[in-house]
């Protein structure tokens, strides 16, 4: 009686709920998605190639501009990959400060995820509250390195400057109020019937599929795999920190939400430990004036808020530029699980699926 016809539509690239310039090609049967393909490349700048034409020192400014919500975590990966390449040992105080700022950045990234994800699904209040706390973290970024978003926080071999005066007070003030803020978000969302209806059982991705597709970060941990590079291959000062890796087994959007909320609690714990056990000493290792590489290649992976961010660097003898530079961007690899999550579901749920992956297109397209 009715003609059964599939419809093809584009979600994005200017759609506000696609978190940037992501275009998703959808084929719909009524309201059910039968085919879903993310199309990327609208924000491609050629960061890898640009970095190959610049010195090791200059390359860091480009890592800020990949995942602009977690610039400090990207800086840390870049700095540590270079230190691995040149065989530099970083002073212990610098390691502690790096760890602390990295965890602050994880908080900021998760807060912006919570804010936009909730806004996509329809909870506007959380957006305003989460941005209020993120503002404090950005202020701390500004106090430490002078910039709020594109931080360029670390240097190869340590830090440019020590913590500014009054920084400890800012941190303690933040840590004193942050648990109550987390409780506020949870009271708004955890029991909310609309939130639960929109997230429980939506965009499932089991552990087997997640591992097969190389998905990392909270998406993997919400499927029950306790893989966290901070624990598995400790870097910076994480070996000395006491924290847990929160996991869930439900593997749906709600589980990922809970995992990220627990991760924020653990981050606050790590920051407290860093402040308590902050060692004294220099913050910069002794470096040669111009860094010149030997023929050498390194891959260094760190746990960015979105998952495993890996830097692959190849040095050329006598050159101060990397011969080859490649980034294993967590968002890029997590995004390929979108068809698996969305196909067979309703079109309204793909917004939740995109939000729960926590993608930033600056990093995916690079």
């Amino acid at each position: 009686m009715f003609k059964n016809e599939e419809m093809e539509i584009n979600l994005g690239p200017q759609h506000p709920s696609t978190h940037g310039v992501l275009r998703v090609k959808l084929r719909l049967d009524g309201e059910t998605i039968t085919h879903c393909r993310p199309m990327i490349g609208y924000l491609h700048r050629g960061v890898e190639k640009i970095c190959e034409n610049q010195t090791f020192f200059q390359g860091q400014v480009w890592t800020d501009r990949m995942d602009y919500c977690s610039a400090v975590a990207n800086n840390l990966g870049w700095a540590e990959a270079n230190e691995k390449l040149f065989g530099i040992t970083v002073p212990r105080r610098a390691q502690y400060i790096r760890t602390m700022l990295n965890e602050f950045n994880r908080l900021a990234s998760h807060l912006i995820w919570l804010a936009t994800h909730a806004l996509d699904i329809g909870a506007m209040t959380v957006f305003l509250y989460a941005f209020r706390e993120r503002e404090d973290i950005l202020d701390m970024n500004e106090a430490f390195c002078g910039s709020r978003l594109t931080t360029t926080a670390f240097r190869i071999g340590g830090l440019r400057e020590d913590l500014p005066p009054g920084f400890e007070k800012m941190v303690q003030k933040f840590l004193a109020k942050f648990p109550s803020c987390l409780e506020e978000y949870e009271n708004l969302l955890n029991e909310n019937r609309i939130w639960k209806k929109r997230t429980i059982g939506v965009a499932k991705l089991g552990a087997e599929d997640a591992i097969a597709m190389g998905v990392t970060g909270p998406v993997l941990r919400a499927a029950g795999v306790p893989y966290d590079i901070r624990k598995a291959f400790p870097y910076a000062a994480y070996a000395e920190m006491d924290f847990e890796v929160p996991t869930r087994t439900e593997a749906d959007t709600y589980a990922r939400y809970l995992v990220r909320m627990d991760e924020m609690r653990q981050s606050a714990r790590i920051i407290q430990q860093c402040m308590d056990g902050m060692p004294e000493g220099p913050v910069m290792a002794k470096l040669p004036k111009i860094l010149k590489a030997e023929v050498n290649e390194v891959y260094h992976a760190t746990e960015a808020p979105k998952g495993e961010i890996g830097y692959y660097l190849v040095g050329e003898k006598g050159s101060s530029n990397p011969y080859r530079f490649h980034v294993r961007a967590p968002g890029f690899i997590n995004l390929q699980s979108l068809p698996k999550m969305a196909e067979g579901g309703l079109i309204a749920d793909i917004v939740a699926a995109i939000g729960t992956l926590d993608i930033v297109l600056g990093e995916i397209d690079r």
Binding site: W62, D139, G146, T150, R160, N187, L188, E191
Partner: protein
């Protein structure tokens, strides 16, 4: 039975509304009162926004006490700049041993405010000032040099557009 009650009576919504209500009441009863610490918004263009001491603003050339330009044209900042926004021309000046910059051009539209130039400078002759209102109507206003109305020594006056004149 319990489940039906929970579905019928929206406790979960009430819980959320209690939080928003609390915040609303806090602001409502203290509105227009000064020195209320939890008002987090500021009246930005009218009230000057404060920045941290390490804030990275526009590149500025410094002069010493005699009014001499401190820059000695070592070209370290030009070399380290990731976006190549600095161009320096070396020259000589009478009564000065060190080289003197005849031209120090700065293309602000390409500057990414990373402060690598200041870090590389061994003579403390440049800083990034605390200016962040750097918008302008004309493209030429972003090309700064040592002479002219928009120069490298004084803060740009492009920030004036953010505050109403009346």
């Amino acid at each position: 039975m319990n489940k039906i009650l929970r579905t019928l009576i929206p406790f979960d919504i009430a819980k959320g509304l209690a939080i928003t209500g609390k915040h609303f009441a806090k602001v409502f009863f203290t509105a227009n009162r000064r020195k209320v610490p939890f008002h987090i918004v500021s009246e930005y263009p009218e009230v000057v926004a404060k920045v941290q001491p390490r804030f990275r603003g526009r590149l500025t050339l410094l002069k010493d006490e005699q009014g001499e330009i401190k820059c000695v044209c070592c070209l370290a900042c030009e070399k380290i700049c990731p976006t190549q926004v600095i161009t320096i021309e070396k020259g000589k000046k009478e009564g000065r041993k060190m080289p003197f910059p005849v031209r120090y051009d700065f293309e602000m539209e390409r500057c990414i405010f990373c402060e690598f130039c200041v870090e590389s400078c061994g003579f403390d002759s440049i800083i990034l000032n605390h200016q962040f209102e750097l918008a302008a109507y004309n493209r030429e206003d972003f090309s700064l040099g040592m002479v002219g109305a928009e120069n490298m020594f004084e803060p740009s006056n492009v920030g004036k557009f953010s505050v109403a004149d009346d």
